[in-house]
């Protein structure tokens, strides 16, 4: 995950009493002849010599081919909530675990296949190679589970810790890939990079979502109820189902993200742009808060920066929240009430959500002067960047002031300033059937349309 949600809990999985499977380190899997050691502690792979990718000794080509031939399931929000409302019963927890297990190896195999099809010189780059090996490693930890059905507590705990390790391993995939592609820009065209990353990052969103959802459900389930121990956000709140907030109020997220971005602006530029939220601010719908926070932060960063840099009058940024008319039909998802009264998950605290908007459109309108016509075609490209080779992320010198500061804001992503904000936001929005549209009025301002699809009616 991009980590802009400022998690306060530590990210390594906590050991549950006497039941922890310690993951084998990556080094023991690969032949020692390669210099591309894929230990997780290696900090500057770019200093190493470029090398051959290591052998796939523990995951055979046949396995990968077999899995990648299978159809990759397109995840919907309804999939994630189908196991029930927290706290899940033991049976429901097993069902969630087995569902997750059925999807993950296939997804990982598809990613490995896609990486293998990149040019040889690109995958030889130490950064790209590291990511490739991460995927191989993760698949190898899941393969022993492939033919088992999880039906007892120990197995489920083991499985969940495997998932936690997977989430942790792939935490920084994006900055590392970004560095890698930047180093390889002579050998691969921007179009190819964009095509690969579009597909890869979208798949990554789904994979992480499945894994994190199960982890969150695990920690808010009846046998293991301990939301504070979860490595992924698992709020103890009746409207949450795992990582999904069924009563997410976008206006609140807008205001909190805007406040955060405005503080950075005030610190760095001495100015604090103003904003207005209009439309229907009381709107609520079902969505993943982490995703929405990321997208809104990126879009608001753009709007705020443009407003500050505009020499003329500083007009407030207008954010309009437009809910889709409620679904008139029957509820899309029916959930039984929680199995037991635990914490905030009490039977009578759960309210039916039948007036939830199925989707929401958020329009961000600024007076920042617009996007120049020659820049406009490039805003969706992953490799479009004003970074030069010397200004590596976190280095600071030519980097965008806003991004540098936001990097230091607790677990911040170092990809900011590389021009990944817009395409990545779009990947998140489109994941559940939404999208982002950008309309520039050069000389006046920019309108950005963020369309989000939620789950719809849940009962």
């Amino acid at each position: 995950m991009i980590g802009l949600y400022r998690p306060l809990r530590c990210l390594t999985p906590k050991a549950t009493p006497a039941r922890r499977l310690r993951p084998r380190t990556a080094a023991s899997f690969y032949s020692t002849s390669t210099s591309a050691s894929t230990s997780a502690t290696e900090l500057h792979p770019s200093r190493q010599k470029w090398s051959q990718p290591p052998s796939t000794a523990t995951v055979t080509d046949a396995e990968i081919a077999n899995l990648s031939n299978k159809h990759q399931h397109s995840l919907s929000l309804a999939d994630l909530v189908r196991h029930g409302r927290p706290p899940l019963s033991t049976e429901a927890l097993y069902s969630s675990a087995n569902f997750t297990l059925s999807l993950l190896p296939i997804r990982l195999a598809h990613r490995i296949q896609a990486l293998r099809n990149l040019p040889f010189i690109v995958v030889s780059n130490p950064n790209i190679s590291k990511i490739y090996n991460n995927y191989l490693h993760s698949l190898s930890t899941l393969l022993p589970w492939k033919h088992r059905t999880i039906s007892n507590i120990e197995a489920e705990i083991q499985f969940t810790s495997v998932l936690a390790e997977l989430v942790q391993t792939h935490q920084d995939t994006i900055p590392i890939l970004a560095k890698g592609f930047l180093e390889c820009r002579r050998y691969i065209s921007p179009g190819e990079v964009t095509r690969f990353l579009d597909e890869h990052l979208r798949a990554r969103i789904g994979t992480r979502l499945i894994a994190e959802q199960h982890i969150a459900l695990h920690y808010s389930s009846v046998p293991h109820f301990d939301p504070s121990a979860s490595p992924t956000p698992c709020p103890e709140h009746p409207s949450y189902i795992g990582v999904i907030d069924t009563a997410l109020c976008p206006a609140d997220v807008v205001n909190s993200c805007a406040n955060w971005v405005a503080e950075i602006c005030e610190y760095k530029y001495g100015e604090r742009p103003e904003w207005i939220v209009d439309g229907e601010p009381e709107t609520a719908f079902a969505y993943v808060p982490m995703h929405l926070e990321y997208i809104l932060t990126e879009l608001l960063k753009n709007a705020f920066r443009a407003t500050i840099e505009n020499r003329h009058k500083k007009e407030p940024i207008v954010i309009t929240i437009a809910p889709e008319p409620p679904d008139a039909g029957p509820p899309k998802v029916k959930l039984d009430p929680p199995a037991e009264n635990l914490g905030a998950f009490r039977s009578e605290a759960i309210k039916p959500l039948d007036d939830n908007a199925p989707g929401v459109t958020i329009r961000i309108r600024d007076r920042g002067g617009g996007i120049a016509p020659e820049v406009l075609p490039n805003v969706w490209s992953y490799s479009f960047t004003t970074f030069s080779e010397d200004d590596m992320p976190g280095g600071g010198s030519g980097a965008d002031a806003l991004s540098v500061i936001s990097n230091t804001g607790g677990g911040g992503s170092s990809i900011a300033g590389l021009g990944y904000g817009l395409p990545l936001s779009r990947a998140y929005a489109e994941y559940f059937g939404g999208g982002i549209g950008v309309q520039s009025l050069y000389g006046w301002g920019t309108d950005v349309y963020l369309r989000l699809k939620g789950v719809g009616k849940i009962e």
Binding site: G279, E280, T320, A322, P323, E324, P325, G359, T361, R363, G370, P373, G437, Q439, L441, Y442, G443, W444, D447, Y449
Partner: protein
């Protein structure tokens, strides 16, 4: 074939008015089996005398082989600015060869469409009109004198009048054929043919206007024209704000008289770069702005009436923002009319619409009447059209304005309830014709933002279908 034989052949396949009443369910087995539940009206009796449609193709081939020579607004202006007899004759000869060339390309397009589509009565009518026009213009000899030019201009005027109903006919034909061809193909065909039609009318009307100017008593060659005037049809300085205000007032008046005195009409507010201006063909601009404002006003009225919590409050205004940059002017029309319903959204830019096709077809049958008689069916008789001289600037050729603006004016002044479903796609054809663009963003449940981008410099060539475009000058 001699011309008289062609005429006779044309007459024998002219379909009688019997097909206009859908109650008569005449059909031929082959046509019915292909279209049955998908077409919107029972197919009338088809012509079986198709042999007469096989006209000598060699002549057409010769003209199809020629390339159209596109022109830009700036060229039109510069050409007309210093008008002499020699230039007028040269303009006449340009038109003389361009018209048949461009028509020939479109006739060839139509000939390549599926047989079942071209034998649809509406499409078939248009085909005949085009072919006759082609036949007529290709025989015109080189023009050398002003008298020959006069005769030529009369021919042009006659053709322009005869072709006034082409747009509604094509639209009806496309709707009826929506089950017979892929939607994308149909839309592409319609866009191409409409674009070409605009191009022919632009050069034809421009030449008529120049002739009129040349012949008018006040004209002397080399006279300097001030900016607030026309060169032919081209208005040198469309001030965006004025055009929007005029169109806005007209649309509001139409809405008021159509919806009754009790209904509140939304205000239209203009902000931004108020001095933005550019050269353009005024009737095109008025059509596009008119369509956008009509849509917005109608949507706001209906949405406001439906939502209960808005009772007693005035409807939210429509905000028009003008943005002027070095090379473009962008006009944004922002309304709170509830957005575009999900089921219509995929068909927004299509001429072969989805769910509302049957109703559109019904409405279109009323438009040919309006196009033919310009004064007819104005809402209350007192409503003044956009270019009849009572409001706003007029090109000097008043008489010709009536004839050749008729097709757009009548479409623009139809009552608001008559939904034709072509406003947006046709506006986009006009916008893109001079290398501009029209985009729409809908916030479902809230409203719509429309973005019209216009090139300010007038040096972009017409976007014709057959050529790659390059800037001139």
């Amino acid at each position: 074939m001699s011309p008289s034989a062609v005429q006779h052949a044309t007459k024998t396949i002219r379909l009688t008015s019997a097909w206009r009443s859908p109650a008569r369910s005449l059909s031929i087995a082959t046509a019915r089996s292909r279209s049955d539940s998908r077409s919107l009206a029972p197919f009338p009796r088809r012509s079986i005398q198709t042999a007469t449609k096989w006209r000598p193709v060699q002549v057409l081939d010769e003209w199809v082989a020629k390339e159209a020579r596109p022109i830009s607004l700036r060229q039109l202006m510069v050409f007309g600015r210093s008008l002499t007899e020699q230039r007028l004759i040269s303009s006449a000869n340009y038109v003389r060869t361009e018209l048949p060339t461009r028509i020939a390309h479109r006739i060839r397009d139509m000939q390549r469409l599926p047989y079942v589509v071209v034998t649809n009565p509406h499409i078939s009518d248009v085909y005949d009109l085009y072919y006759n026009a082609f036949d007529m213009f290709r025989r015109v000899k080189e023009i050398k004198t002003l008298e020959e030019n006069e005769r030529f201009c009369q021919e042009i005027a006659r053709m322009l009048r005869a072709h006034l109903s082409v747009i509604p006919k094509l639209a009806m034909g496309i709707l009826e054929c929506s089950g017979l061809m892929e939607q994308r193909e149909l839309d592409r065909f319609m866009n191409t043919i409409l674009r070409s039609r605009i191009s022919r009318r632009v050069i034809a009307e421009q030449h008529l206007a120049l002739t009129e100017t040349f012949n008018s008593p006040w004209f002397s060659p080399g006279a300097k024209l001030s900016e607030g005037e026309f060169i032919g049809e081209v208005f040198l300085k469309c001030i965006a704000r004025d055009v929007i205000e005029r169109c806005g007032t007209a649309v509001q008046a139409l809405a008021r008289s159509a919806n009754g005195p009790d209904v509140q009409i939304p205000e239209i507010r203009i902000t931004g770069h108020m001095e933005a201006s550019f050269p353009y063909i005024l009737s095109h601009l008025e059509y596009i702005i008119g369509e956008l404002l009509r849509n917005s006003v109608q949507a706001v009225i209906e949405h406001h009436a439906r939502s209960k919590k808005n009772q007693g409050r005035p409807p939210p205004p429509i905000e028009v923002t003008l943005c002027e940059a070095q090379q473009h002017v962008i006009i944004r029309v922002s309304d709170q009319g509830g957005g575009i319903p999900r089921d219509i959204l995929p068909y927004l830019w299509s001429f072969s619409k989805g769910p509302k096709s049957a109703q559109r077809l019904e409405n279109l049958t009323q438009v040919p009447l309006m196009a033919a008689t310009l004064q007819e069916l104005r809402v209350d008789g007192n409503f003044s059209g956009l270019q009849d001289g009572k409001a706003g600037p007029t090109p000097p050729s008043y008489a010709h304005a009536r004839a050749h603006d008729g097709s757009l004016t009548s479409l623009s002044t139809r009552p608001p309830h008559l939904r034709l479903g072509m406003g947006l796609p046709l506006s986009r054809v006009y916008a893109e014709y001079w290398a501009g663009s029209l985009e729409l963003h809908s916030l479902e449940g809230y409203g719509v933002d429309a973005f019209l981008q216009i090139s300010k410099l007038g040096n972009k060539n017409e976007q014709l279908a057959t050529r790659a475009t390059m800037d001139s000058l």
